[in-house]
Assembly symmetry: C4
Homo-oligomer: 177 residues x 4
Amino acid sequence: MTNFKEGLKAVKAFAFDVDGVLSSPEVYLHPTGEIMRSMNTKDGYAMQYAVKRGYPIAIITGGNTPSVALRFKGLGITDIYLASSYKMDDFKDFLFKYDLKPGEVLYMGDDLPDIEVMKTVGVPCCPADAVDEVKSVAHYISPYSLFSKGISNRTTIRGTKAVRNATVRFPTRNCFL
Amino acid sequence: MTNFKEGLKAVKAFAFDVDGVLSSPEVYLHPTGEIMRSMNTKDGYAMQYAVKRGYPIAIITGGNTPSVALRFKGLGITDIYLASSYKMDDFKDFLFKYDLKPGEVLYMGDDLPDIEVMKTVGVPCCPADAVDEVKSVAHYISPYSLFSKGISNRTTIRGTKAVRNATVRFPTRNCFL
Amino acid sequence: MTNFKEGLKAVKAFAFDVDGVLSSPEVYLHPTGEIMRSMNTKDGYAMQYAVKRGYPIAIITGGNTPSVALRFKGLGITDIYLASSYKMDDFKDFLFKYDLKPGEVLYMGDDLPDIEVMKTVGVPCCPADAVDEVKSVAHYISPYSLFSKGISNRTTIRGTKAVRNATVRFPTRNCFL
Amino acid sequence: MTNFKEGLKAVKAFAFDVDGVLSSPEVYLHPTGEIMRSMNTKDGYAMQYAVKRGYPIAIITGGNTPSVALRFKGLGITDIYLASSYKMDDFKDFLFKYDLKPGEVLYMGDDLPDIEVMKTVGVPCCPADAVDEVKSVAHYISPYSLFSKGISNRTTIRGTKAVRNATVRFPTRNCFL
């Protein structure tokens, strides 16, 4: 994890997959047939805070649900790549726009389409329930998972505190908890 | 389970019950009084993937909720039998339409109305919390259940991986996890 | 529980409280500010089944949410007492309408306003998390509770089977599971 | 806790943060992109009961979701401070309006913006998963947390009973359970 902490110092931007990272696979069907995803407001606060401090944030997702885009826009995020069929292209677009090098980005993903980007970034992260191929390239594997509702509160509290007191960095639920 | 793996090789189509198989019994009431069912996007991806690879998929449910039909249509599924009072009739209709033999179909159900169809198909499956009568005719009983939210992540990950690396087949949450 | 099983034989009708019995205290806020309650479709099927077999069912609740009434109407229930300030009055109305004696009714409640009715009915029931005063007058305390999401699947399955194979009676989640 | 019980006797009003105290961090996205928060109807009944008994209640939240305001208005609460950037200002406004001294207020919060107010009130409370800085100034830390869905029913029942039989006071889920 020294690798991870060293990498954090160089981070100038963040990029996230959505499903499995910022939203849960369990959804409810609205009467219109649209799916309603579950998210965590603590992740929302963290991203909002990062935006205010000037960090560019990219959302790169294969999904194409308008409500997801609206939610992230509401948090002040402007770089939202929906229906991303090849994430590397969208990631390069994000790097170009903000004049960033891959090593300056923290990326969090959980599945095969995320791997190519994860291999290039400075801080590749994943949740506890990412597929093994993703885990093998991650520098940091969060003990927290969107699947695990039964996780002890203590972990959550400690994680949040760690971010606040120690790194004063980007405290998303999955990244640092 | 050799029986099960052998049967999988002959599978050319899939058929699913909805309640208890693809959706949870816990629902939320929309202000209009309509019920909002919980589903799993990983099941959705799996079915979408199967459709793209050319597998016919039938949804055969006693329920009659428009949102359910809309959701499955959105995944590319065209054979949706709502308000099915006698599932065998709808199943035969599905077989006829695609010129299929019962032994070429994987079916997953969890309750009494599913049993007759399950006795005829090549690969009858059920979730862990199916009623005993259904379990006794299933060739594969998923360790996962829609009732069990506390299931370990590890199981989920292993299941997904098993499908991807080994069978390269139809990875619904309940079928192969 | 001999008392309970004997009582069941005389049951000709059912009456239910809603909050804590048929719906969970955890709700979601719709954007309009209306609350969306969680219910269980297995309870819904059970009530629908009882209605079809000719059992009168009363819903007697202090709440006044239109979506709740719409949901129960959709199940074929016609005797829905919303905003019930004194449940005994509504219960008497129900008895009078169907020419029933209190001893012929199974009632399930969980809180103080339910006690007076429970003391008069033939089969007073309550969920596991009812208040102690209610538990002390119940002939049957369900091991299942709306608060307990982590309950083992096995219990649920066993309960359903007990209803089907043994009593062939009214299988609501809380009553007999 | 003697401190806590003594303080309760002087309580003439209540003030609450929302996120993490009265609502859960897990939210669902409505198709419009609005977030739908989870609340507990038992908290709602408790606040409604307190309002009827004449207790002023303030809701002081940094959030600005209309549905939250509508929900609390529906419970009879009139002092709802949304988008509160500095909670002490809104708290002082509440005190002035009802001619209250800080020592006469029970306040429950869970995060850094709540601390200044908590240091001045008679009964500062927090849920089990509040940040450590908040816990260190609380006179009462609820064993219940919005994060913990798996909490035993027994605790919930005992808590409710304690409020009813002993204090006949304000039984919110987090405050006294």
